[in-house]
Symmetry: C2
């Protein structure tokens, strides 16, 4: 950030009065421009014994497999964001079951929220963001071709939790930082 | 937003190619300025049969009671944000028990995440943001002087869940919009 989005003057990076962190401050109009983490919402769609993955048609991680997920927009709930992204990226209509993973990804300032979801009909497709969408059983998961550690974690949790005698799919809570992207903070 | 924070030129509000929502776009440098919901993280601190509330020393809702919570910062996890806000606002050191409420507050573009937390020692205090901090038993809660519907919901859930024979404090998931700020979407 170089310029004030309110008045167009140059901003400077300093600690405002009463604060304890550096912010982009405009000395012309007094605006303080806070920067905060963004939410990525998505789904882990389950159809019978299979899960639905999308092959990315966009960077980063073009060509790798992921769960349908994307940035939450203003004016929607986390659930609505998860449903919208699943429809947009995988052309799939799912029913949310529960919030399943919450991952703070420190180095990119994102909080990823993945819902466990049921895909009642095996209807899905590709999109501008997705080269291909398909169902995978556990032994077909392309573990070496997954786009993000958060996706790998979510899938690992899912198959481990599903193997329980009475699966309850407890909320999985993670904090990920560079070099510690796998199961750093499990609760 | 009136000006591009990258180059300082005027931005216009329009739908970029490949998008389906209006964004602030800079025709000079090509930047697209997305705006997304912010996360508010906080705690519901429990000490014995009492809970800890803070009387706000800041607007909005000056003088009303709330749970310690505030905007999550870049570079921290949701847990770290909840702990930091509790320390800053209530001068209290808590131990997080579990993520308890997740509320999408549609009209202010916020997602509030409240952790159930244990306050081992009855040590707490006021701060720049807090006129007074004190413990309340259930029959002392100032229901008519609470700052936000999300706080009222969290406290209602807590006392209802605590009254169960084997309290499990399940995750409470809400979406709130104007006029529908109480328990709109419960799961
Ligand atoms: Zn300015
Ligand atoms: Zn620009």
């Amino acid at each position: 950030m170089n310029f004030c989005s309110q008045c167009g003057h140059k901003v400077s990076l300093r600690i405002p009065a009463g604060d304890n962190r550096e912010r982009h401050v405009c000395d012309h109009c007094g605006s303080i421009h806070y920067q905060n983490p963004r939410i990525v919402a998505g789904c882990l769609p389950v159809h019978g014994h299979q899960v639905l993955l999308c092959k990315r048609a966009i960077e980063p991680r073009y060509g790798l497999w992921t769960l349908p997920a994307g940035f939450m927009e203003n004016g929607e709930s986390t659930e609505e964001a998860a449903l919208r992204e699943t429809l947009e990226e995988a052309r799939a209509e799912v029913v949310l079951r529960k919030l399943y993973t919450v991952s703070s990804i420190l180095h990119v300032n994102q909080v990823q929220m993945i819902y466990l979801a049921d895909l009642p009909e095996a209807h899905f497709g590709s999109s501008e963001e997705t080269l291909e969408t398909r169902l995978f059983s556990e032994d077909e998961i392309p573990w070496d071709e997954l786009a993000f550690p958060t996706i790998r974690n979510a899938l690992r949790f899912f198959f481990a939790d599903r193997a329980e005698t009475s699966p309850s799919f407890p909320l999985r809570h993670l904090a990920l930082s560079p070099g510690h992207e796998e199961l750093l903070l499990e609760s």
